[in-house]
Chain length 451, copies 2
Amino acid sequence: MAKKNTKTQPAARQILDMNAFDAETSASTSSPLLQRRIANVGASAVLFYREPLEMVSASGSWMTAADGKRYLDFYNNVPSVGHTHPRVVAAVTDQISKLNINSRYLSSVVDLYLDALKATFPASLSNVVLSCSGSEANDLALRIAAATSRGTGIIVSENAYHGNTSIISDISPSALKRRKLPDHVVTVPAPSHAGQSGSIENAFAADMTRAIAELERRGHKFSAFICDSIFSSDGVYADPPGFLRKAVEIVHKAGGLYIADEVQPGFARTGEAFWGFARHGVVPDVVTMGKPMGNGFPMAGLTTRPDLLARFCEDTGYFSTFGANPVAAAAGMAVLNVIHDEQLQDNALRQGKHITARLLDLAAKDDRIAEIRGAGLFLGIELCRPGQKEQPDAELASSVINGLKDRGVLIGAAGRFGNTLKVRPPLSLTEQEADIFVDRLEEALSAIAAT
Amino acid sequence: MAKKNTKTQPAARQILDMNAFDAETSASTSSPLLQRRIANVGASAVLFYREPLEMVSASGSWMTAADGKRYLDFYNNVPSVGHTHPRVVAAVTDQISKLNINSRYLSSVVDLYLDALKATFPASLSNVVLSCSGSEANDLALRIAAATSRGTGIIVSENAYHGNTSIISDISPSALKRRKLPDHVVTVPAPSHAGQSGSIENAFAADMTRAIAELERRGHKFSAFICDSIFSSDGVYADPPGFLRKAVEIVHKAGGLYIADEVQPGFARTGEAFWGFARHGVVPDVVTMGKPMGNGFPMAGLTTRPDLLARFCEDTGYFSTFGANPVAAAAGMAVLNVIHDEQLQDNALRQGKHITARLLDLAAKDDRIAEIRGAGLFLGIELCRPGQKEQPDAELASSVINGLKDRGVLIGAAGRFGNTLKVRPPLSLTEQEADIFVDRLEEALSAIAAT
């Protein structure tokens, strides 16, 4: 069981800065393409690694760089059924050569997909609104909550990231740099510790009660609690399943909505369920989804109860030009079919267990591994100073990320202190690929210990 | 020259409702697919026509419905270089089968596109941020303006539509139903009349001065003026070129930014310039773009000055998962190449002139046509009561839209009173197709007159 992160440690790092290229410190080593990129996108550049990688192709779990070097992708949760999966490619190619229009015209391709998508949800969540990005989906979800609750108070986890629109940046502590969270946003710690309460579920419920009271104290009517049920950007907190239950009850009793942001844990990644919230036995009022939905085709959406959607639509017209176009629907349908036909949920569970078992063996030998957490193919490896589990070591995490890169494995980090490696390979991962990852991780950790 | 719309006319209609399917009145005639759609998307359904069309394929300027009937598409400005253009399809197919990743890795495909895109803009606008939708682009543009101006006051045109995120709905009068515009948003009339001022440019400048003063009176520091330079949702106001100049000077003197929303007029549609703002001889601080950018592939973006982007990025981290992926870049590059190689800007100008000349002939015979406005292949046909140019006739517009549908032509309407037909076919339109449109329009108008 994880303990609460001590707050006397290095200042929390911004998730967007973590492991990032820094134009100021790396300018002298810049490649021509990197210089061109910086000239093109300016201050908005967000690149991985001090020397960013130029990629040219990818297939399955592997990406190939411009210099011919191949990398095992343990970072990327967008091409979730495998890079350039032939069935998704074929579906997009077929549909985009036939018809690509907006949803003001009917197209059976779209409703075939909506029917299939809805079948994965609790029956109450029977209306779907497709959009282009998880940010757009969360933006709409917050407004559906506001229209219902007539409040603006939002509760998020301490290091949450929910997207990039204005109102969603405002509820994303990990995206803010010099800015502070607005007054109508209150945070709860990720469900990482039981404290005096006897269980993580009780502790999280108590935190929720406090957060609702804090909103009230500040004069903001409570509107919604939104969370990624695997708390990815907080450092990956998955266990025990069910820890959301009491908190969600409290949210509902206080008149708020529970919005499940499934952009990270959705689409079978946790192995134990198709959706992250389902591991906890709770039914959200709104579910948002994105990244892996089209295996890289830009698409996202939300599902909710018809009454909630109707309430919002009374006030404001909503239309997405690209949302629910038939090419997105074809991509999304191919993803659902591949997950089903290749039994990727089962594979995520199996490979996740295999990796976890091997990582626990490694942790038993290496006292810089504080904890292994997660579910299916969404794991967190918390790194600490040798033998001091309460001392997060972000420098070590950064060194491991770069050591793995040198050894042909791509991985990222998360958490308030940037010290938790995120293990998030394609769901089609083989056991052989899983072993390559753990072997390379062991090598990278050994090499760092030796220096 | 257009006169100011009288305000004693039928109440302004919501652009999203115009010509829309209405579940309550049309339920009895619903097809099974329509019933399925309503069950799937609920109150968010936005469909064209009382009996929405089911489409199955499209090519060039033509769409084919499920019953085999072909329609000439004069509405759709997303597949702007022609439906399912083979070069765009090939570019997407090729790239999506090779690599589709986020922009944290370098990819030369992306920078090839960014270089080409930037070459279409004034040199000062040298930083590009790609995103998924025009809404996201405008959402970011407003925040760039806020970070620079430290104000929140926004000026938009009376019937503007800029997108669907929370802060963008707030500045989109045409998307609001029961809601009112927030206090920090002030409108200016579309530049449709000279009034006492001697010119539309002077009248619009005077309106801008009044709007800035109104924001001040309300206690909101002025941040930005955002407009679609062809004022599409206001009813299409294009002439005379240059009418934005004095207003933009006033905006800059007052410390605000001028954001050019090029989602509608951009990418060569006006024939006279590649970008709508360029017709007016002004240089925006931020330009946003969307719809036709990828000919239907979901992509959008903005370009701005490096100093403005840097100022925003100091406060808030911005990253778009799907923005700047190589497949979007390949689609966008194909669009730029097709516009160039097929000389679509010239064609837009030529066909636009041809249609305008024919429409003016028609107007000389039919006193229900109040005015023909626009540039290139973005025209507005304002309809009025017979011989009464000041009396907008939305019912007539609706009848013409349905009459054209029966005759195999798709078209929409715009403007505060819903009485202006929007002529917006693919830029690859042939003269023969242009003639089909005008012939069918004449037939539809005759048929209505005869009843």
